[in-house]
Structure formats: C-alpha cells, structure tokens
C-alpha cells in the first residue's frame, strides 16, 4: 500500500543483527544474555526433536530445518549424533507456540526475541487445520 503522503519507512533503520550463539548451561537471570543462550539451545533441541518426526524432503522437515539453522544448529547427518545438548523446550508443534512466545517476550536481545517469535509464528501457522 502506498500512501498519498510521505510516510515512515518501516525498516529504514533496522540493521542486520548477528546472533551470538554462546554456550548454554547458564542458570542466570531470566533476562540475561546467558538466559538468551539457554533459550536458544532449548529451542534448538526442540527443533531437532520436531525434525526427527518428518521424513527428509517433506515441507515440514524443510521448515524445521530452516528453524534449526536459524537457531545455530546443523542438520543431523546419517551416522552422526543428533542428540540435543540441551533439554528440548518442546516436543510437539502445538505446545511449542506458547513456549517460544514466552521465550521471545523475555529475551534480552531484540534479535533473539524476533527469531524466537518468528519461529513461534511459523509453528502457529502449522497448527491451523487445513480445509
């Protein structure tokens, strides 16, 4: 949509923020950088769990692989260890939405929050019944 008058440019000042995916064993404050790293690690483990439920090449597999990579993870390789290093934050798509939204609401880093909120949104789309 184009306004008849000049208007704000929505993304004019939004830079590309790099995520620092650090170690993930912290028990720090709920809104600390370590807590962000822990939330990312738990979400990464959750995506690994979801990924294992779909065959390679399916749309759902591709979707969760994209999420896993956004979270700093790598696709499991045949014969390689796919065991998550953190406790999965979720094990099914439906329950993941609220978990990811809560993590996004509390993330200290805006970039981390947006990534978690976006994955939650993608999962929310998957929960809508198809006609």
């Amino acid at each position: 949509m184009t306004a008849e008058e000049p208007r704000l440019t929505r993304r004019a000042l939004l830079g590309a923020a790099a995520l620092v995916l650090a170690g993930c064993k912290s028990r720090g404050h709920a809104s600390s950088p370590d807590a962000d790293a822990a939330a990312i690690a738990s979400a990464r483990a959750g995506e690994l769990t979801l990924l294992s439920a779909y065959a390679d090449g399916t749309p759902e597999h591709a979707l969760h692989l994209t999420h896993l990579r956004a979270l700093g993870g790598a696709a499991p390789t045949p014969g390689g260890s796919a065991s998550p290093t953190a406790t999965p934050a979720y094990s099914d798509v439906r329950s993941s939405v609220a978990v990811l939204q809560a993590a996004a609401a509390q993330a200290r880093s805006g970039a981390t929050a947006a990534m978690l909120a976006s994955i939650a949104a993608s999962h929310a789309v998957l929960t809508v019944p198809r006609l």
């Binding site: 809104s31 509390q106 929050a113 947006a114 789309v125 998957l126 198809r130």
Partner: protein, 142 residues
Amino acid sequence: MTETEALAAAVDVENQAIYGYGLTGAHFTGADRARALAALDSHRARRDRLAAMLVRLGATPPAAAPAYSPPTPVTSATSGRALCAALEDACAGAAWDLVTASRAGSSSRSLAVTWLSEAAVAASTWRGGAANGNSAMPGQPA
C-alpha cells in the same frame, strides 16, 4: 530503530491494513466477508493499542493517510484475498521490527510477539492454508 520509531511504523502499517480491508470487503461474500470484518475489528483495536503506547512514550501517533494505493488493483475476491495476505505480511514485518526494538518483558514486546503469530496465521489463511507458500520465518526482513 527505536521502540518509538517501531511503534509509529506499526501504527502506520495498521492504518494501511484498516484501509485495505475496507477496500476488499466489497468483493467478499460469505466466510471471506466475515473473516475480513473480524480482521478489520482486530486491526482497529491493535492500532488503537499501539497508538496508546506511543502516547505513553510522549510521541504523537501518525495520522492515517486519506487514502492508500494497493500494489495491484482489487477487482475481485481473488485479488482481494491477495491484498489481505500482503497486508498481513506487512503486519508481520512491523511486528518483527517492534519485537526487535522493544525491551524484554515490556507490554510492547508482548503485543508484538502475539501480533507476529496472528499476522502469520492470517496471511496463511488468506493464501488458502499452511501448504501455500508460507515463509519459514514470518516477518523476517528479506
């Protein structure tokens, strides 16, 4: 982008959505029309909440333009659905920006997180469902 700038941009995007849904309504019947009317109410309510947040930060919400031009003409229910999906995509983008710019635990962060999911679901619905070209990362800048 500051939180104030992201809120102002969000108000602007919602003003566009409100105008756009009004534009498409005449072409819809049945379930589409009911969905568009419900969306119109939701967008008005969210625009008002976003504007109130801006006022609390000491800023003046941007006024809606008298009219907006859609990217493509709306001449049928099909083109109306496409515009609604595009409007929701724009809302998802504005929500992403607001999530990024807002503080942890703030009311604007909370609203933006929920808004992002709602916009993604609405865009998918206007496109005909989850299997129809949805982004893996809704709202993320290209």
